[in-house]
């Protein structure tokens, strides 16, 4: 009798403890993000005060966003730079790694394994140590201080991951499928675009998400390689605002910039979580 009464009570207590911890920890992890977003909607004067409480007391306001828009050449220039760089990095990364993944998965050629290891092993070398030569090479090519130049660097930095990902994706497709198509007279290129591409789309999604997040958030290379203020991407601009290069720090405007930078990352992750986690664990399981 006593047993049947304590068992459910015990289970209820365990459940409460489980969700108590879960909710408490979730609040700790989410609070800074929420705090920043809420403060970005405070009126300017209120945003200068400590954010207690975090929500706008004096009414919802877009003043911080207006202030943010005033910096330098205007926020849309910088947001435009960031968007252009990220989208170009995504497209180029997908294209280059799609071709390379197919080549490494399906063809035999001299030095194949050496070349594959060469591409993959660049992940061991920190790009931070080759930034000076990169700066000089881009200058030689006339690409220093251009968005094209930084896109090429970002695509290269993504290559070990994206090539590895795409080769695995192609390896997972049975050879018989393309053999049948090839025999039906389709060209190599048609086989790749019409038959293989739909089958490796999950891999493409993973490569695209990682390329977007990496290029959208990258700071150090952009700080060094983009010297003209008009070419700044959002992280470089916001770091300049924070260091006081545009006068007294307007923390409301900084948090509206942070919100602007976080929003696409969070949205993309929440929408395509499956492909993101797949990419994350691909390295861990291998």
């Amino acid at each position: 009798m006593a047993r049947t009464r304590t068992a459910p009570a015990h289970r209820l207590f365990a459940t409460l403890r489980y969700h108590g911890f879960g909710i408490g920890a979730s609040i700790l992890f989410l609070a800074p993000l929420v705090w920043s977003v809420l403060v970005s909607f405070k009126p300017s004067i209120e945003a200068r005060q400590p954010p207690l409480p975090p929500w706008p007391v004096g009414g919802f306001s877009l003043q911080s966003y207006d202030n943010l828009a005033q910096y330098g050449a205007g926020i849309w220039t910088y947001a435009g730079n960031s968007i252009a760089v990220s989208l170009a990095t995504v497209v180029a990364s997908v294209l280059v790694s799609l071709l390379a993944g197919y080549g490494f998965s399906r063809f035999q050629f001299p030095l194949k394994n050496v070349l594959f290891v060469l591409i993959i092993s660049t992940v061991m070398i920190p790009f931070q140590s080759i930034l000076t030569p990169l700066f000089l090479i881009l200058t030689k090519l006339g690409l220093q201080n251009t968005l094209t130049g930084i896109v090429l660097v970002y695509v290269t930095l993504q290559l070990p991951f994206s090539t590895f990902m795409m080769r695995n994706a192609f390896d997972a497709v049975p050879k018989e499928i393309e053999d049948a198509a090839r025999v039906d007279g389709a060209s190599v290129f048609a086989v790749l675009t019409r038959i293989m591409l739909p089958l490796v789309l999950p891999g493409v999604a993973t490569v695209a998400i990682f390329a977007f997040l990496a290029s959208w958030n990258e700071f150090l290379a952009a700080l060094i390689l983009l010297t003209d203020q008009k070419k700044y991407t959002l992280p470089v601009l916001m770091a300049a605002v924070r260091s006081g290069q545009f006068g007294t720090i307007d923390w409301g405007a900084v948090q509206s910039g942070v919100t602007l930078m976080m929003a696409p990352c969070l949205a993309l992750f929440l929408l395509l979580q499956r492909y993101y986690i797949r990419g994350l664990t691909a390295g861990a399981v291998k």
């Binding site: 489980y18 920890a25 400590p50 070398i125 030569p133 290559l159 700071f219 942070v258 994350l280």
Partner: protein
């Protein structure tokens, strides 16, 4: 059906062909394969292999931004032995790496254990813990720079208002408070990442082994020590090395939040290379510093490969 017929025909055709034609076709196929990987190779050559060679070459020169580079052999390397700030930066970077890695693991491991078994809401918790990971280090640093601000921020004014402190303390004024604030920020930002890596390891352990131990009367702690930890060696090694390599290259948070201060006490190795190369424009010297950092990181990667390849690691 159709393709089956074609295969037979093709088989006949290829069998009937002279040998030379066949090797020519093979060679063409090889060429096609090379063409497919050519763009990737070109990028790696131009933006990785050549810069790497250049970095070494530059490290042997006195290389100003403008003007002619002068060959000085190992001069830069000799100089860095006497560079007090370089050694202070290296010491600080190693110290930071040790502390932050321990801190990340002590949060990420319990989180991984917590979200391992899927119950109601577990997926939601996982997502909540992971969200800071997808936010960039730049954004996260800007966010925390504000939270840590003495006038407009959260921590110091909140502590004052709650009566924990008599007056507001500028957390970024002293080394210890700056350092630990950044540690907390990095743990917040990266614990979710390590949680997911550790989770894959946890899920790889068969439930039967755990169940058998439980029936044999092993306590949860014993099961963790004797079964979970040994079976996760590979995953733990991977997460550890990712964390160590990432922390050795830390820059964004120290540059954005602390500006290397107070009094250059939080200048990391990458930060010092950055300021020598692009602040003082000593490109050759910066390259020599880079080579030292590179050797350290490659060493870490080699250790990683050893640990992960070792079959006993399973």
């Amino acid at each position: 059906m159709n393709s089956g017929v074609m295969t037979d025909q093709q088989q006949q055709l290829t069998d009937g062909r002279p040998r030379r034609r066949r090797t020519a076709r093979q060679r063409r196929k090889q060429l096609v394969g090379l063409l497919f990987v050519a763009p990737a190779l070109a990028l790696v050559l131009l933006f990785f292999v050549i810069p790497l060679g250049m970095a070494f070459w530059m490290s042997l020169h006195n290389w100003p931004l403008l003007g002619k580079p002068r060959f000085i052999g190992l001069g830069n390397y000799a100089r860095l032995l006497d560079d007090a700030q370089f050694w202070a930066s290296m010491r600080f970077t190693v110290y930071y790496t040790l502390i932050v890695t321990v801190a990340i693991f002590s949060i990420a491991f319990p989180l991984a254990l917590f979200v391992e078994k899927t119950r109601s809401l577990t997926k939601l918790y996982r997502t909540a813990f992971f969200l800071p990971v997808v936010v960039g280090f730049g954004s996260a640093s800007l966010l925390w720079a504000w939270l840590l601000d003495v006038d407009s921020g959260l921590f110091s004014p909140a502590a004052e208002r709650l009566g924990l402190m008599d007056q507001r303390v500028n957390l970024l004024a002293g080394f210890d408070t700056t350092f630990w604030s950044i540690i907390i920020m990095v743990v917040w930002k990266t614990a979710g990442f390590n949680m997911i890596i550790l989770l894959t390891g946890l899920q790889g352990i068969s439930t039967e082994v755990q169940e058998a131990a439980r029936i044999d009367g092993a306590s949860p702690w014993q099961r963790f020590r004797r079964i979970t930890l040994p079976l996760m060696r590979r995953t733990i090694a991977l997460a550890l090395i990712l964390s160590v390599a990432g922390s050795m290259l830390a820059f964004d948070q120290f540059y954005i939040i602390a500006d290397g201060g107070p009094q250059n006490s939080t200048v990391t190795a990458v930060y010092w290379i950055f300021s020598q190369s692009f602040g003082s424009f000593r490109l050759g010297y910066g390259a020599a510093l880079s080579m030292v950092l590179l050797v350290i990181l490659v060493f870490i990667s080699v250790v990683q490969l050893r640990l992960l390849r070792n079959p006993e690691g399973m």
